[in-house]
Symmetry: C2
Subunit: 876 residues, 2 copies
């Protein structure tokens, strides 16, 4: 035999996780540690991948090997499969490398058949228990393995109850259960055309195959996608001798953690149920008891368990999550694994373990899942209040956090209410770029239409605002400024609350608590900062966001977009004037009106950043985004602009684009209208000089970033406009200010010609959002139409906009890094765009040697931790 | 001095073209050959690029060097700048590496001033001539160098004529001219605030600078863009002693070719004018005489010239275009260069030169400009008829060729009239994909709206149909089926004629002649085929186009698009039925209707191609392109489809995309709807089997091409659908057919992951149109909004859609070729897309090692020739 597909627990250990799965490896490790583990064997993950490679067939050699190990197990246990006096019963459970709780299938009591059940009855001296086990096995096996739903059998049970006039399962006698088994088998045969399998070995192979198959079920696929688990891994299968917690009052079963998984408190935490099997705990028919109770009921077993738990924690150097069963006073460990925990618990446990000397700071930093921190970084509802509240309805959880405020129905009202000092929620049919100011002022955003990648969702996530999108049940009347949901009508000024993490909409004010970094969180962040190499900047367009990011630890602004600044009410008019200008003079006049406003914006940002670096990106979006689309708005604008509606429409129509993503935007705007770059340069440079003069203790070095460059001459041209303007102003003002001009790398052509571009660019910032779109050739706005099919067919396992595609887009990033250093050895390299806040992407950026990542303020702590982990795992 | 910026003619030779420009190098070469060339020197192209590098300033060291060479020239000629008895006069002419006739500036008679004119009068013994030369010089110098337009001086001349009551310039006396010179100088001073420059050296430096400056004038920039001449080359400046063809009846000037540039006939061809200067020939005031006349007038000079011409042709081994002047019976050669010629002449001259033993077949093949062949590949108007005709109006020359036919106003009428056997012209406000069938049936297409890259233009060029687009003067009434242009109303069925090479629209029937490859053309093509390595395929969707391409020498189809097939009247209905289907069953039913139609299409193509390879690309465009947009059409379709207008609109709206170019198209369609690929596979495979069975002498190997692949799993998935379907059919039919499955490389991600993709793809075809769009990040449809600014600022010098961007897109192509061979060493590599017909791009494709290029039928001969030239210049 060329390859070993099956391992006894005694043949494995914890390091064999890839081959044996998490559960199998830990059972093996516990066996090695001499802990009381019911023996068994593991069919490897390679057997699973082979099953799929062979066209979903289990190879005869693997079957043979499994049968060999069944013989081994019979020897070890002294029991025999299908025996009429001492039958061997086993459980069959999945166990992938990564924990995927409840996603795959389990079969218990396998080995029971018409003969073995009699043997089992004798052995346990409890015929009722034996028949009940058999009928449960028939149900479970039929459901999991043979695709005959469990519920169909429940109907038979109900009929029998009715016939006997009884209510509870427990009221059935052993004979009743025998009759039930006969009816079950009859029903099975009617459904499947074959007798219920009697041969335990057949049962076993069918069950193993069913577990393999369940790797590919929709909920498993979905779970993997959500948790970045590759499809290619496959699952192992654990076949283990059954032990029974339902053999009387000296038996029981339970689940426990070595520490409290909610708070991290260092105290055994969990619950157990006497005279019960695992499924009883799950079913919730009886209420389990807290672990403390066990001390009183079975003090010896409790002590043994507590010692085992401590030993396991010390051995694994992490909080353990354990399953155990007590059979007739004997403790059996069925599983141990590192316990899932809340973010708060994770931080406390990590700090405590360092304190206790079990792990060091590096290990503590590595032990926290950065993604989990998200939960701590947004306002949350007060837990008690939340419990009592009932949502009016639910939309998509588009941007996390909790928000409570008074409803407004448009951006203008948002301004009015906000100026009165009110906390507001902006409710819209859908949002558009014109709503930016309102969205920025709002604590939360609620939309009726649009998905997870709608304008509202994307902008809200970027801003760190809570957002519930696509709440289609809302009956919205924007004009009347009211909406109806769940039978309640909400008018302007009414209080509502949004939960952006669940999508719930509440028709009342729920108190929220603000996020902050303190205590254990602060300690871990401090440790992370000691290890990381990447600097962490933030994407922020306003002083408010900038300040928020600083409190979260941002070391600079990596992306300050300037376009959002133009949407606000007092400036959109001048912006539009600029766009509809028919001559250079008109355009310059409009730009002159924007100049002081924009300079003010930058002053605010420089003040907020207190000398930290700020990268300002020049105007990027297509101009038509600034123009109105509704007929009324067009008429109003024409009047305001003193031009005919026809002329205005002609301008709007001339700016219409078939593919705006690939249209007249980015530096293309400034190539055609260099005066825009002049104005923006003047605003940045003057703001920097003004703030620098006011604060000589800071060193402000503006970083001007030209977007959408694809060709070095393009950058050289715009740069010459910037440099000419900047140098003139610096000279005029007698300042000693220095500044950098760089570019985004977001066009594939820029990546492959980065050596040339680096000759002009003093820094690169990878715009991985657009780079992903261009590299894949699909638009984020439109991909929804087909991405589902791509997940179903497993062509993609991740959303490339959430997690950098390292194979394709990453190759271009690597190429650009390499070439960029050729063109300018000391080039500054960073990344802005949503990938800058994604842990796996941050690891990649660390590995390719960037200097910093920039992400939205609320992801800064996640980025700090991820960067530290990357640095620890991949020392540069 | 570190660098030499000036060369005497006697210091140079023909190989120094890059440094001296074409004119300078040839003057040097003629000097070396001992021919009668007025001596002079050349200021190099490097001086020009230095001028631009120095911020449009001419460096003092260059000025000094020029002055040194002026002294040399004074020594050589025995004349002196500004001398009052023997003044030296020079001409100052531009001369770039490539000929750019009339694009840059020239100054004659430089050196004249108030003193020199007197010396010149004495020397020539002709005061009138001297003063006339001076006043001409003032005009020319003011215009070219000082930006005082020539026409302003003409006003002074007119006033003087009126005052004297004379009509012709020649009636002015010497004194009149002296007065005129005074007035000119006065006017100049009023305009410029300075005296007219009297110092010849100042005049010279100003003139040299003016020539440098003229390299950057708009018409030169435009010319370069049209002719692929890089801006970076710069121009040289030739300073040459003046000779005068206007010194009496023993003087003259002329232009001649060693052979006839229209026909290629081997006979001295040209014209001359006695007692005249070059500008008189250009001005067209007097009618020049044919060269033959010279034999009679000045037999000796004629013989000398004829001998010189023959010597030059033998020396350069190509037809020469020469300028000469006869000063008092002495012949001077002013210029020689390889003569521009018509395509027909080029072919004949090349064949004749081989016949004459002057060049070999390789040189003959290299001597033809492939682009020129275009003129021979489309129907042309009968020359005599064209001379008499007057166009009604003019639009954009969107697709070359001539067409004459009866006007129809929509695609349906096109079908009706075509079925009657009529040749038709389709006239539309603008075309849309629904017009495809009508466009295909039409001899020519005329649109009112849209530019060179409009739908009509792009599709017409692809089809090789003549097209005049954007003829905005047309008053179109599509409903009444008539239009008005140039005062004439044209109704359905009226004859019109279109010239797609000039944009002219004629309101009458003009006879056309069909293109064919015969005679010298055929000979050159045969020679080209001997040398080329690249195979030439064609892009053809119909048997008609396929047959056309074969007559032009196509060796297969590299791109057979299947979507055009679905637009025709009898099938669009089933296509729409398929699109609006709400279930798999409905969709399959609609596809079943399309199957026999599509199979029939492929049978037609396989029949036409007679066993040559055919690459079929599966459905590519977004589905919404097949759905109607006008309200009426939507209502009609809803009725036809038996669904509510509302439901249909919902389907249409659900298919709306923000960026359709990057949307739900290409293989994304088949990932979501694999049944489409099944149907198309069945159609291809069954058609191939049917035609193969009918023609056992052919070997048909279908090539199925999956578009828009960006990830290998995507291709693997669609390929599995194709292979399953194909293998089943082949087995069912008992056929031995083999087939290939490959992909387009048109997404950047596909290029950088080509090693992976090659594991599934048996061939790559580079879709450089889309690859260019994605790599540059701009949409062809929208780029018009900013590309002009890019040409103006010289960021781009070429349209990247016409000529492959070798730096950026080319790098991705190279990467994909290299990686593709890693993944599959014997992978077949080709290119479809418009670059496949562009000579410089073909050279690139040859160099990177592709197996074939595919282009529109009418570019096949161009591609054959380009491929041969590439193979000769870059042996593999």
């Amino acid at each position: 035999m060329s390859k070993k597909y099956v391992y006894l627990f005694s043949e494995g250990n914890a390091s064999m996780r890839e081959l044996l799965g998490g559960k199998g490896a830990n059972l093996a490790e516990m066996t090695g540690l001499g802990m009381p583990v019911p023996q068994g064997f593991t069919v490897t993950t390679e057997a699973c991948t082979r099953y799929y490679d062979d066209g979903k067939k289990i190879a005869p050699e693997i079957v043979d090997e499994i049968f060999k190990y069944i013989s081994n197990l019979e020897e070890i246990s002294g029991k025999k499969f299908g025996d009429d006096s001492n039958p061997m019963l086993v459980s069959v459970r999945s166990g992938a490398r990564a924990s995927m709780p409840g996603m795959m299938d389990t079969v218990l009591n396998l080995g029971l058949n018409d003969v073995a059940v009699e043997g089992f009855a004798k052995l346990t001296n409890n015929p009722r228990f034996a028949y009940d086990s058999y009928r449960r096995f028939i149900q479970m096996f039929s459901d999991v393995v043979m695709e005959v739903p469990k519920s169909n059998f429940e109907r038979i049970i109900d009929e029998m109850k009715e016939a006997r006039g009884i209510k509870l399962d427990t009221e059935f006698s052993a004979d009743d259960l025998k009759e039930m088994i006969a009816k079950f088998k009859e029903y099975f045969k009617a459904q499947k055309g074959i007798d219920f399998p009697q041969e335990p070995k057949d049962q076993l192979i069918e069950a193993v195959t069913a577990v393999f198959r369940s790797w590919d079920n929709p909920r498993a696929n979905y779970y993997r996608r959500m948790n970045d688990i590759p499809y290619s891994w496959g699952t192992a299968v654990n076949v283990q001798l059954m032990v029974f917690g339902n053999m009387g009052d000296d038996s029981g079963t339970g689940v426990a953690f070595t520490r409290n998984p909610s708070t991290g408190e260092n105290k055994l935490y969990g619950e157990f149920l006497m005279n019960a099997q695992g499924e009883d705990v799950v079913a919730g028919v009886r209420t389990p008891l807290p672990m403390d109770e066990m001390k009183n009921i079975m003090p010896d077993v409790y002590d043994q368990f507590a010692a085992t738990a401590k030993k396991l924690e010390n051995h694994y150097k992490d909080m353990q999550d354990m399953e155990f069963t007590i059979e007739k006073g004997t403790l059996y460990m069925l599983q141990t694994r590192n316990g899932k925990r809340t973010a708060a618990a994770a931080l406390k446990v990590a700090c405590d373990l360092v304190e206790e000397g079990l792990i060091d700071k590096k290990q503590a930093v590595l032990s926290i899942d950065p993604k989990q921190l998200d939960a701590l970084l947004h306002p949350q509802f007060d837990t008690a209040a939340l419990k009592k509240a009932k949502p009016l309805g639910t939309g998509l959880p588009a941007s996390p956090g909790a928000a409570c405020g008074r409803v407004v129905f448009n951006a203008e009202d948002a301004v009015t209410w906000a100026e009165k000092g009110e906390t507001i929620i902006l409710a819209r049919l859908e949002t558009s770029p014109e709503d930016i100011e309102g969205m920025n002022l709002a604590a939360g955003i609620l939309t009726v239409r649009g998905g997870m990648t709608s304008h509202a969702a994307v902008v809200a996530r970027g801003m760190g605002r809570c957002c519930v999108a696509g709440c289609g049940d809302i009956n919205m009347n924007e004009e009347a400024k009211e909406f109806t949901l769940g039978g309640k009508t909400i008018k302007e000024g009414d209080y509502i609350s949004l939960d952006g993490s669940t999508g719930s909409v509440y028709g009342e004010a729920l108190p929220t608590t603000e996020a902050s970094i303190s205590g254990y969180f602060e300690t871990i962040m401090k440790w992370a900062d000691e290890f990381r190499v990447l600097k962490i900047r933030t994407n922020a367009d306003t002083p408010r966001d900038a300040k928020q990011a600083i409190t979260f630890g941002a070391e600079g602004i990596g992306l300050c977009r300037t376009e959002h600044m133009f949407f606000e009410a007092d400036r959109i008019k001048s912006m539009r004037e600029m766009i509809v200008s028919s001559s250079l003079e008109q355009r310059k006049a409009a730009l002159a009106k924007l100049l002081p406003i924009q300079r003010g914006d930058f002053e605010g940002i420089y003040e907020a950043m207190e000398g930290r670096p700020v990268t300002v990106r020049f105007l990027d979006p297509p101009l038509h985004e600034f123009l109105p689309t509704a007929e009324d708005d067009i008429i109003a604008l024409a009047k305001e602009m003193n031009m005919s509606v026809e002329d205005l429409k002609a301008v709007i129509s001339s700016l219409h684009e078939f593919n705006p993503m690939m249209g007249f935007r980015g530096c293309r705007l400034t190539v055609k209208y260099p005066e825009i770059a002049e104005m923006q340069t003047q605003a940045v440079i003057e703001a920097a000089i003004n703030v620098q003069n006011k604060h000589p203790e800071w060193t402000i070095v503006p970083e001007i970033m030209i977007p959408l460059v694809g060709e070095v001459k393009e950058l050289a041209y715009v740069k010459s406009v910037v440099v000419e303007t900047a140098d003139r102003i610096i000279k005029e003002k007698g300042s000693k200010l220095t500044y950098l001009v760089g570019t985004m790398i977001e066009i594939p052509r820029a990546a492959v010609t980065a050596d040339e571009i680096a000759k002009e660019a003093e820094f690169f910032s990878f715009g991985t959002n657009d780079l992903t779109q261009m590299t894949f050739g699909f638009s984020r706005d439109d991909a929804g139409n087909f991405l589902d099919s791509y997940y179903e067919t497993k062509i993609y396992e991740n959303d490339p906009f959430a997690r950098l595609d390292q194979v394709g887009v990453g190759k271009l990033v690597e190429t650009a890094v390499k070439l960029g250093k050729v063109g300018r050895p000391d080039i500054k390299l960073g990344v802005c765009g949503e990938h800058g806040g994604d842990p796996s992407s941050i690891e990649f950026f660390h590995k390719v040697g960037l200097a910093y990542v920039s992400c939205s303020p609320f992801r800064v702590p996640i980025a700090r931790l991820s960067a530290a982990q990357a640095a620890l795992n991949f020392p540069r």
